[in-house]
């Protein structure tokens, strides 16, 4: 399934995600045609089982799909939809028809059960294309643990907002609105599932964007001539490109490893490593890419910024480097120095049973 996914998603995105489309999306236009094309192609809900219109693809097979979304700077919540479908099914909530996204609840948001109906008091911040979605999946602490919540967007007041990449990141205000479902989600009770799976997909998107950026840089370094030779012949440029390539390779490995672990009981450690690594590398990589491109890369006309502005946005979405490192650091310190190595080994164990078929 993996190779098939990889080929077809890259083909579709290469054909459709043009500078013209990105500019329309940045102007606030929802890319309905492309979304429907991807949805009809089975990508938007590939993670869901067949009853819900998906193909039950395990996370390792979805890695190239989410990676491609990053590579091509896709301005649509496809990764969010994959995560939302997967979470819903794992919580036992039927996946509804319609466009799905994922959003984090702001502090103080709470659930209330009244007359057999669940109500949400509070707001979801910076929901990816929250205003264009039909449903949003979130998680809210209730009764001693996270609950996965499916809410209808039409129940919310939408406050438009955008991230640095001008991707829609809307606030959804829900003061006492009824929600479709709320179910305890204790699979990895130490973590917020929405934060976890949001971070998972962002790490692969960052990996994809960095990978493409490294390619653009190499190409530019071979084409651009100064002092009578391509700038890639200068050692100072070569050394910077090498750093960019190793950062990029390490983020890809980190993200792929997290996808391999995502279907396991406790994917928290792998996801934390992946998002910490991706968020840390993103800024460094973007800086190198701009340095190598000179002034042309600083123009709106050149396409580099579609990637760098995403990196600057995605690194903080669903947890920054500081957030995830702190989580990891606390987990490690809790066990003491002698516990560090066994923890790393235990967390990088075998994962065949969970669906990894590398």
């Amino acid at each position: 399934m993996r190779a098939l996914f990889e080929d077809s998603i890259n083909r579709i995105l290469a054909d459709h995600v043009t500078a013209a489309l990105l500019q329309k999306a940045e102007a606030g236009e929802w890319q309905e045609t492309l979304f429907n094309l991807l949805d009809d192609g089975g990508f938007a809900r590939a993670s869901a089982t067949e009853i819900s219109g998906g193909v039950g693809a395990p996370w390792p097979d979805l890695f190239p799909v989410v990676f491609a979304c990053g590579r091509h700077a896709l301005p649509l919540p496809l990764p969010e939809s994959l995560a939302a479908c997967w979470l819903l099914e794992h919580a036992g909530i039927p996946v509804p028809k319609g466009r799905l996204t994922l959003g984090r609840a702001s502090a103080g948001t709470r659930l209330e059960k009244r007359a057999g109906e669940w109500r949400l008091h509070g707001s979801l911040d910076a929901v990816p294309w929250g205003g264009a979605a039909d449903f949003v999946v979130t998680s809210v602490a209730h009764d001693g643990g996270p609950h996965l919540v499916l809410a209808k967007r039409s129940q919310a007041v939408v406050h438009r907002n955008q991230n640095i990449a001008r991707e829609a990141r809307d606030g959804l205000e829900m003061s006492g609105a009824t929600v479709q479902a709320a179910v305890p989600y204790f699979k990895d009770a130490t973590n917020d599932p929405v934060q976890n799976f949001g971070a998972l997909v962002r790490s692969a998107q960052i990996a994809g964007a960095m990978d493409r950026m490294a390619e653009l840089c190499v190409q530019y370094a071979n084409d651009r001539v100064q002092f009578g030779k391509p700038i890639g012949k200068f050692q100072a440029i070569q050394q910077q490109l090498a750093v960019l390539a190793s950062e990029s390779a390490s983020v890809s490995t980190a993200a792929e490893y997290a996808f391999a672990m995502a279907g396991q009981e406790q994917p928290g450690f792998a996801i934390a490593c992946a998002k910490a690594r991706a968020s840390e590398a993103a800024g460094k990589a973007a800086a190198i890419a701009h340095a190598v491109h000179g002034a042309i890369g600083f123009t709106y006309e050149h396409s580099l910024h579609y990637l760098t502005r995403r990196l600057w946005s995605w690194r903080s979405e669903f947890g920054t480097h500081a957030f995830w490192s702190e989580q990891l650091g606390r987990q490690v310190c809790e066990r003491g120095g002698e516990g560090l190595w066994p923890l790393i080994i235990e967390q990088q164990g075998r994962w065949e049973e969970g669906g990894w078929r590398g």
């Binding site: 980190a254 490893y257 003491g336 120095g337 190595w341």
Partner: protein
Amino acid sequence: MTLSRFPLCTLPPEAEALREPVRAFLRQELGGRPHTKAGKSWMGYDAEFSRKLGAKGWIGVTWPKRHGGGEMSALSRYVIVEELLAAGAPVIAHWIADRQSGPLILRYGTEAQKEFFLPAICRGEMAFCIGMSESDSGSDLASIRTRARRAGGAWRINGAKIWTSNAHRCDYMITLVRTSDSPEKHQGLSQFLIDLKAPGITVRPIRDLTGDNSFNEVVFQDVLVSDDSLVGQEGNGWAQVVAELALERSGPERFLSCHALVKELIDRLGPKPDARSAIVVGGIVSKLAVYRQMSLSIAARLNKGENPATEAAYVKDLGTTLEQDIPEMVHGLMESTPSLDGEDYEQLLAYITQFAPSFSLRGGTREILRGIIARGLGVR
């Protein structure tokens, strides 16, 4: 582009099965040692320890049984070596032979060489050193001038190697020499297996900045070696050295050299660190975990007979950068006074702070590795 460069690797059950026995052995042998000792990591020398490890069958585990090996996979070896390093075991007495000299002999050596060297290495009784660098040839390794000339049925060697780690305690050196002149400097190089007790060899210790004698100068004056000492083909030295470097650059020793200090840092912070300290520790851990995946991926490719030399450069550059950052992070995080006669932790910090600059030198410098990566990218 990078999507398949480091394909994920998971350790097979037979490799994992070695982990507990190795840990139990290490607990028994090394329990209660001071941290400073663990801090030396793979620079620690203990011939007795290496012999015990050999007796367990844990040296040369991938080699054929008829040569003393265990016919296990490179991934089984990976488990053994990473456990040794994580525990800070003193491994240098067998490390080089197990990692690169033995594999080189196995790949290019004659049957007689294999019979003579490999079983002794597996028993932990024969230590090797790497004779590549010379005083005028560091990064530009192919410019070496140590020379072997035919002398009847033998070879006469003149010249000098430098920075040879551990030569003063080793039995043999695999020495890269020039055997013929060629306008192309990568041609005309050959490798010899040289008994360091042979007449004409002087091993002169060089004190490193920590005060230890970790490396040496090895001078060859009319040293006569027989034809049987040539490894592989005459003139094929460069290709052989390059294959050796892939083994040398991708292992867990490229990100675990400071492991003792990381463990100590965690213990000093205690179970409830402040946010800033937790962030630093978590940052280190995320890199360790990811670099281990990359390194494992290379081990799996080596196991399949591939030569991922460029990928090895990625791991060494990323890993040694982390290793060098670690003592700096410790200094940035808490009040600590490295000292030579203070408590154990202060000595450990003093040792690692001083030794850290070498991490990105030994085995090829950062600039050279990045050059290799750049060539792989197609800009050189």
